[in-house]
Amino acid sequence: MLTTLADILRGCEPGRVQSVGLMQVLPLLSTEETGPVTSPKALTVGTSHYGTLLFENPLNEVAIVPRDAGFLTGKSSQDHAMPVVGIIPGGMTRKFENAACIQETTGGMIKGKFEMIILPFLLREAALMTRERQEYSKLWNVIKRFNTAMGLRSSGHVDVFLNAFSSQLDQFVAEFEPVPRQVGAIFLVNGHVVGIERVPTYEYWLEIWQPLVRVCYGSLALYMRKHVENIPDTRVPLGQDFDDLAGLEEALRQATEGEDESAKAIVRELMQEPLEEKVETGVDGDVVSSLVSPHFAGQIVRRAGLVIYASILATQARLRQERSAVKAFAL
């Protein structure tokens, strides 16, 4: 079945673009009622053996574990990540056998509540591609290449990257801010759309905001910063054609509207992009589907036909195509 980004974002309206450096964030706002959802924070997370993740949902509402959620134990047990969206019925425990270890040489099972990240952007396509494989070590080589690309030692540990770039990532997440009614965002790097994220509620967004922006998109911005120096074309500087306060005000208005419009125009171009939607699983009326196109890949959750969760990223192929002047990240 074919769908479009316009369909996926139905019920949302764009907010005002936030721009810092190469990154721009177009907030998606909504007050649509999506029905109750348990957010990841409420879940107890555990492993029964390497490559599994168990989620215990103590509340009555269905829980949605975001795609590529990683859980950092911060101690001598192994960090794990989900390569897919997870649906956990209310009051139930659900086990995923296709999880991935993201700490190559650390052993130990986990159970409890842990810091959640969303995997670095450049690992997420590989994670999605391996979602059906039950092999705990499936991401180690990709993580190694990612660490090397970031100038670190070749290591199958995501925490090596997180520790090395901790302060830069903190700085990055501080640059952007969630806005009222926000339930998602379209992320642009260097003037190109790299990710579309949507969640059921504002409260859920506040919870996922930091993991998503800090690690997933922050890591991409850090990578891009190594290769791109100029600010993107979607950034509009203040014009200089004024000689009084009224002229300055007009120049500011034009720059503000111009910047907002130029980012939105890029997004608008993509709204009718066809995406192949394939239903993968369904729990209690919430249906998880994968989405594929030459340019984007990801997963969505539909409830009564309406999209309540989406995480769709630009493919490596698209990134390479749009950054022809930039050395491609090879996985």
Binding site: G15, R16, Q18, S19, Q171, V179, L248, E249, L252
Partner: protein, 516 residues
């Protein structure tokens, strides 16, 4: 101190402009840094950065370093590590801005400006760094033994006091003192009946360090601190009796009583303890327990006149604004404005109400509270006043959303005709980043020179100084409305070291050196 004297004292410092810049950076740091993490930086990063800038200023002149730390509104954290640094490093023969006697007074002043719990933390810092010279021992012993609230503090901070005393006396001497005090107590607590050896030990280790007459309360407190159960004071007896007598908790500090309840009286509730000890709550505790007291149905008196404006705004955000709090805030602003060295004509405040102004989880709402308290202060120090913000800044509102300050800055200049614009922000602009800088450049290009100052509340900033919206706008990091006065000193230091130090001494000298 006359200007000429200051000039002489600063003669050994070669590059005044460079040093002035460093001192400004130091002021930025000591006015903002705490031992906690911020919204943006970890605790370790902050500690490392603070230590570096301290070391740099200390290496220029330890006297100047002492004076800077004594300036009002310097954070306790910087004073703690400053005193530790001064005591860790012996004075050498080089010229210093303060002589040995002045420095001694300075160290004493800095240490005693710290609240007791932070002073004890500093003693712990000295013990961990193995700083045990004569100056350190004297400071610790005199501070503890002369404490007029020693009994109360012994009950509250027994472990920390013991570590400090043992560090100052040494394990062997501490043990000897304990034995001698027990013996003296056995002789009906009569110092006169002590043997010559006992008297010599008490004189050397207690009387010579303090300026009090030997009395039972102090002897009891020392014995209690050192772990003796053979103590007579009612509070100390209550400490032990409360293990089996719930009512004895009434004589203990509330937090100690609550600890005892949870261990020895698990069948009783925290509300029972609160009811028993509510008269002993400090004014700070009275504020912090309001919510739990309300939930537990216990009425605890709260007098807003006793609190500073920042605490009141945090409290009002949590519990709701009342006419009494408003009146107290008004009074605080008027008092603060009187102490300011300047007024601002028509002041316009651009208040950043974006999400990051909410602050770190360990100090939630503090940046916003400082911003609101500063707004009141500036309003009180201005002929007329106007505030611009994305969200109407009622205290009950949560900061939220993006940071779009450029338009408001332009409105402040164009529509409000400001004589001075103050932008209260954490410095993180994203709608888009750099727009304020472009607008300031635009204003200057068309000849509009309205003074614009960025005020950044404590720790809503980066490790090194604060994050500037524009290189053309001076940034003033502030921890509280009281720190606002630092702005003038900082500006002077940037341009004229001697004049800046003179302004510094005018504020610091009367308190720290008694006007020397």
């Amino acid at each position: 101190m006359e200007l000429t004297v200051i000039e002489k004292k600063l003669a050994h410092i070669p590059n005044h402009r460079e040093v002035g810049g460093l001192l400004c950076r130091f002021i930025d740091t000591v006015a903002t840094a705490t031992a906690r993490g911020s919204f943006y930086n970890t605790k370790e990063e902050l500690q490392r950065a603070v230590e570096e800038v301290h070391a740099a200023v200390f290496s220029i002149d330890r006297g100047l370093y002492t004076v800077l730390l004594a300036f009002p509104s310097v954070m306790d954290y910087s004073r703690q590590i400053g005193v530790a640094r001064l005591l860790s490093n012996p004075r050498d023969s080089k010229l210093a801005f303060l002589d040995a006697v002045q420095e001694k007074r300075g160290i004493h002043y800095l240490a005693h400006e710290l609240p007791i719990q932070r002073r004890l933390k500093m003693f712990e810092m000295l013990a961990n760094r193995r700083v045990n010279n004569a100056r350190t021992r004297k400071l610790i012993l005199r501070s503890i033994l002369n404490d007029p609230k020693l009994t109360w503090h012994a009950l509250k901070y027994r472990g920390k006091l013991k570590r400090a005393l043992v560090h100052a006396w040494g394990v062997k001497t501490a043990s000897t003192v304990k034995v001698v005090l027990k013996n003296v107590r056995a002789k009906e607590n009569a110092y006169g009946r002590a043997s010559p050896v006992e008297r010599a030990i008490l004189t050397k280790n207690i009387l010579a360090q303090g300026y009090f007459n030997f009395n039972q309360d102090v002897a009891d407190a020392i014995l209690f601190i050192l772990g003796s159960k053979e103590v007579e004071g009612a509070s100390f007896k209550a400490y032990y009796d409360s293990n089996h007598d719930f009512d004895a908790l009434a004589l203990l500090p509330p937090e100690v009583a609550e600890g005892k309840r949870s261990t020895y009286h698990p069948d009783r509730t925290p509300a029972d303890v609160l009811e028993l000890t509510k008269d002993k709550l400090t004014s700070g505790q009275q504020m912090t327990v309001q919510r739990s007291a309300k939930e537990k149905g216990v009425k605890v008196d709260f007098d807003p006149r006793k609190y500073d404006a920042v605490k009141l705004y945090i409290y009002a955000h949590e519990m709701g604004m009342t006419p009494e709090i408003k009146a107290a805030l008004h009074t605080r602003a008027i008092e603060g404005a009187r102490a300011l060295p300047a007024s601002f004509g028509k002041a316009v405040i651009v208040l950043d109400m974006s999400k990051s102004m909410l602050g770190h989880k360990t100090q939630k709402y503090r940046p916003m509270a400082i911003g609101l308290a500063l707004s009141d202060l500036i309003r009180a120090a201005s002929d007329s006043f106007y505030m611009l913000s994305d969200i109407y800044p009622v205290v009950e509102e949560e900061p939220r959303g993006h940071t779009a300050l450029a338009k408001m800055l332009l409105d402040a200049v164009r529509d409000e005709g400001a004589d001075h614009v103050f932008i209260i922000t954490d410095g993180y602009e994203n709608a888009p980043a750099g727009r304020v800088d472009e607008v300031v450049a635009g204003l200057r290009k068309i000849g509009n020179m309205t003074p614009i100052t960025q005020i950044t509340p404590v720790m809503a900033s980066e490790v090194f100084g604060t994050r500037a919206l524009s290189p053309a706008v001076p940034v003033l990091p502030v921890t509280s409305p009281a720190a606002f006065g630092l702005a003038l000193v900082k500006n002077l230091l940037e341009t004229d070291l001697v004049a800046g130090v003179k302004a510094l001494m005018n504020v610091v000298s009367p308190k720290m050196l008694g006007g020397v």
